[in-house]
């Protein structure tokens, strides 16, 4: 059906609100489903030595594997890569069946005790809602591609109760760039979904964080140590996933069917033999760690076993997210460092809760490789701004360690394992754009003053020796701008002036050149900005931004192309 010009733009913002509200409602239902299932399947109080800790995750694993195999084949994984794949490969298409499957199977897996989280599936559910709505409205492929991240941001915001972090994460990890046409929709959808989520769950921050005070700057050393621990832990987590997941994926189909059950059993064993805290998303355990309810050794043990449990659950193909486990591990590490500090350096004032909070940000930055989001996430989920300095310090250290020891981010590793090659947001961020200054060459062409008469200018040219007719000559006009002429052009002007006036000595060069000038280019402009002008000009002068007309150098098409080839 032919479209009306401007129709999509007009309905886009309204649709964004619908996407936000519906995503918010679905995410609220999703969280409810997880908690209901958790109580129904594992009982209202988890404790070690309960036989159901072994039975339930195993049985859930079997059911999830069967449904994944026969009913919802697209629901494996966390949901982030699937959303990116939908955007970059499938024109924003996420089937409704996938949304239903993600909702049901993730809720079952997380509620049944698998060590996974609800945020990434929420992101995919939101993206799926957006995709379904945009399909229903028969929007263009370009719009459908944009709508997937809009829904993703809405889903994530509702799950996290953190709109800014959700927007940043989608921009940082899914879209990869700030784009004005999609930003408005993302913001609207996110706000709508968060309003819905808060209407149900309340406006309280996700975690109740004790007051954070950084009274002693020496305490930053402890946060730096936490950053190092976080970097190493994220590396261990990534490496274990990188090792186990392809091994399990390459197994036979029948063995793959059993993998979620075996993973469930092993996770259940961890719970049965003393650490039921690692089962499920573990938000209540994060809360307990923040309120210093565990000793530092126990916290360290919980962090290690959570890495093991999540690696098992995720690598087995059980649908569920990585956000919550990442936050869990970070919180345990942070609280452990904080408790250790309290024990051995009691004069330092930082609370265990603040260390747990920073730890969450540290793992988020190092493991998920979203450093910008991690800082805002910590502030948003805690409602606390005073933590920003330790967060930035620790996150930066962890991120640098993780980047240097594991150059390819884990989500990218996972997509490569799945045979997909999606754009790497981290590489895009790190990519350095070339600027004119990178191709800039010293001026070797003759330079004439536009105020000179043509006869004088022609005489000046003689001083430069033999000049080919096609060679560029720079003319500095009296208005401060430049004109790139050729020898041939000047010769032509000279003869024209002679014919017109009889006595050409009185006509100045820039007068004869007319109003046209070479474009104003500065050294910091993108290299590509010069390209359109080479059709008209052979040589482009590059001038100083502050000193009008002062030459910094010049570029030719050849210089620009050579620089691109070196890049």
């Amino acid at each position: 059906m032919p479209s009306i010009p401007g129709r999509e733009e007009r309905i886009l913002l309204l649709l964004s609100i619908f996407i936000g509200v519906i995503s918010g409602l679905l995410v609220v239902s999703f969280r409810m489903a997880i908690e209901w299932l958790n109580v129904l399947l594992l009982g209202s109080s988890l404790g070690p030595r309960q036989l159901r800790l072994l039975i339930v995750p195993t049985m859930v694993g079997l059911v999830v594997a069967a449904l994944t195999r026969f009913a919802f084949p697209e629901v494996r994984g966390s949901g982030i890569n699937q959303t990116k794949a939908a955007m970059y490969i499938h024109n924003g298409y996420i089937s409704f069946r996938t949304v239903c499957g993600k909702f049901l199977l993730s809720a079952l897996a997380i509620g049944g005790g698998h060590s996974l989280g609800p945020e990434d599936p929420s992101l995919q559910i939101g993206a799926g809602v957006a995709s379904a709505i945009s399909r229903r409205l028969q929007l263009s492929k370009a719009r459908m591609r944009i709508f997937a991240p809009v829904g993703a941001a809405a889903g994530l915001a509702a799950a996290f109760n953190a709109p800014i972090s959700a927007i940043l994460f989608v921009i940082e990890e899914v879209i990869g760039q700030w784009s004005a046409d999609v930003l408005g929709s993302i913001v609207l959808a996110t706000i709508a979904s968060v309003v819905v989520a808060r209407w149900f769950w309340g406006a309280e921050p996700m975690f109740r964080v004790p007051a954070v005070n950084l009274r002693d700057p020496r305490e930053l050393l402890a946060y730096a140590v936490l950053g190092i621990f976080g970097g190493v832990a994220s590396l261990a987590f990534s490496k274990s996933l990188e090792y186990l997941r392809p091994k399990l994926k390459s197994a036979s189909a029948s063995w793959q069917m059993l993998q979620p059950a075996v993973a469930g059993f092993l996770v259940g064993c961890i719970g049965y033999f003393g650490l039921p805290q690692v089962m499920g998303a573990g938000y209540d355990v994060i809360d307990q760690a923040m309120h210093a309810q565990f000793a530092w050794k126990m916290l360290m043990v919980l962090a290690i076993f959570k890495i093991i449990a999540t690696t098992l659950s995720f690598s087995s193909g059980t649908p569920g997210g990585m956000f919550a486990p990442t936050l869990f591990i970070g919180a345990m590490l942070g609280a452990s460092v904080g408790s250790f500090e309290k024990l051995f350096f009691p004069h330092l004032t930082g609370s265990v809760g603040s260390y747990a909070l920073v730890g969450m940000g540290v793992l988020f930055a190092a493991f998920l490789r979203a450093p910008f989001t991690s800082v805002f996430m910590v502030m948003e989920v805690s409602g606390n701004y005073s933590i920003v300095v330790p967060v930035i310090l620790a996150n930066a250290i962890a991120y640098l360690i993780s980047r240097s020891l594991q150059p390819v981010p884990i989500f990218e590793v996972l997509t490569h394992e799945d045979g997909l090659y999606l754009p790497s947001m981290e590489e895009q961020r790190e990519e350095r754009d070339l600027h004119l200054e990178d191709a800039l060459k010293p001026i070797v062409a003759p330079v004439l003053q536009g105020s000179e008469t043509i006869s004088n200018a022609m005489r000046s040219l003689v001083d430069y020796g033999e000049i080919q007719s096609s060679s560029p000559i720079l003319i500095h006009c009296r208005d401060g701008l430049w004109y790139t002429a050729t020898k041939e052009e000047l010769d032509r002007l000279s003869s024209e002036a002679s014919a017109d006036h009889g006595n050409f000595r009185d006509v100045s060069l820039d007068e004869k050149l007319g109003a046209e000038r070479t474009p104003l280019l500065f050294p910091d402009l993108p290299l590509s900005s010069a390209l359109p002008h080479f059709r008209r000009w052979r040589l482009l002068p590059v001038t100083h931004r502050a000193l009008r007309g002062a030459l910094e150098g010049a570029v030719t098409l050849q210089d620009v192309l050579q620089r691109y080839q070196q890049h």
Binding site: M1, I11, F18, L25, V28, M32, F200
Partner: protein, 386 residues
């Protein structure tokens, strides 16, 4: 013309289709909202029920002195009702009762950050700091508790906490600080003989016997026949060397509640001391009689002690004492004593020195010697006068 018609027809169709779609979306949203709301209410009710159920179990476990179980119960309750203040307090209390001092301390610290002026939380922190041997922190938390908010009878709770602080300070051998706290309590306290008795008892422990006696007297003004206070005051009077008051108070105590053997023993000693004491207020002949009686007792003690001590191992002080027992102070006659107060003092000094030094070499005395030793110590404390 045909193109224009087709275009407007297409536009109409699109507008109708978009309107229907938005209407459908609005309907879906409303239906989804209602369903979610219904499920959410049911979900919340169930969570609230679970929270109450687990907190009840926690309370039962606490009452049955099973704090570990209570911890699990309250943690579960809190997972269904996060931030519920009463559950938080109970969990912290359970942690403390389970001797998980560090966890309980941290938990209460977390709660204190929410309500820094809460008297109960500060008191619990004081207990935990005390069990961690962090005296300064304990004192600070006690003070914060005293000046904190209390539900119900705040004045009474603050007084109790101050008394507890004083008790803690006495335990920590800081009697001066304890005395200050106790005097503050006494200054603000209502007329309550039991409280006065408690203050008296504690002031006595805080090495403030005269202030203690004042509070005992205050208590006895209201309850003159309170046997416990009479007994405590009598004993204190005995310890203070006020044997007349001791006899009087202990006799009244015995009248009010007979059968207290310990009191009876002290009473007997006090009475005997009153018979032995050579007070300067006594008539001269009676004072001299008592000096002579006391000298006879001391002489017997000296004889026993000197015979049991090896001569070779004798200390110079004993040798000096032996020489004094051979000298005039040991034999001054009654009439000589009656006319010479210096001789009375010399004879008395010999008696007291004998009791003090024989204790060092021959062990603690008993009977009248014990009482004479007490008089000797009183005499030394008072600078040589009775």
């Amino acid at each position: 013309m045909a193109d224009s018609f087709t275009k407007s027809s297409t536009t109409r169709k699109l507008i109708v289709r978009d309107s229907i779609t938005f209407l459908s979306l609005a309907t879906i949203t409303i239906v989804l909202f209602v369903v979610t709301l219904f499920l959410f209410r049911s979900f919340q009710e169930h969570r609230a029920e679970l929270a109450v159920r687990w907190s009840d179990r926690g309370l039962t476990a606490l009452r049955q002195n099973r704090p570990e179980q209570a911890i699990t119960c309250y943690r579960t309750a809190l997972s269904y009702a996060p931030g519920e203040w009463n559950y938080e307090l109970s969990l912290a209390e359970a942690l403390a009762r389970a001797n998980r001092t560090e966890e309980a301390y941290n938990y209460f610290i977390g709660l204190r950050e929410i309500r820094p002026g809460d008297g109960f939380i500060n008191l619990q922190l004081a207990h935990l700091a005390a069990s961690k041997q962090d005296v300064q922190a304990a004192v600070n938390f006690y003070r914060a508790s005293i000046y904190g908010d209390w539900e119900g009878d705040g004045a009474k709770r603050r007084r109790e906490v101050r008394l507890e602080l004083a008790r803690y300070l006495i335990e920590q051998k800081r009697p001066e600080m304890a005395k200050t706290e106790l005097l503050v309590v006494g200054g603000n306290a209502p007329d309550d003989p039991n409280l006065d008795a408690t203050l008296g008892h504690m002031l006595e422990q805080a090495a403030a016997p005269s202030e203690a006696m004042d509070f005992f007297q205050r208590a006895l003004t209201v309850q003159p026949d309170n046997p416990v206070v009479l007994s405590q005051a009598g004993r204190l009077a005995y310890r203070l060397g006020d044997y007349k008051a001791a006899v009087s108070l202990l006799e009244r105590s015995a009248e009010a509640r007979s059968g207290d053997e310990k009191n009876a023993g002290i009473l007997a000693k006090a009475r005997r001391i009153l018979q032995l004491i050579p007070s300067e207020l006594l008539p001269s002949h009676e004072r001299v009689d008592r000096i002579l009686t006391d000298r006879t007792i001391a002489k017997a003690r000296w004889n026993t002690c000197s015979s049991s001590t090896h001569a070779g191992a004798s200390q110079s002080s004993l040798q000096t004492l032996a020489a004094r027992w051979m000298g005039p102070d040991a034999t001054t006659s009654r009439s000589a004593l009656l006319h010479d107060s210096d001789k009375q003092r010399s004879a008395l000094q010999l008696i007291y020195d004998t009791e003090i030094q024989t204790r060092q070499f021959c062990g603690a005395p008993t009977g009248d010697d014990e009482l004479l030793l007490r008089l000797a110590q009183d005499n030394a404390a008072k600078g040589g006068s009775h």
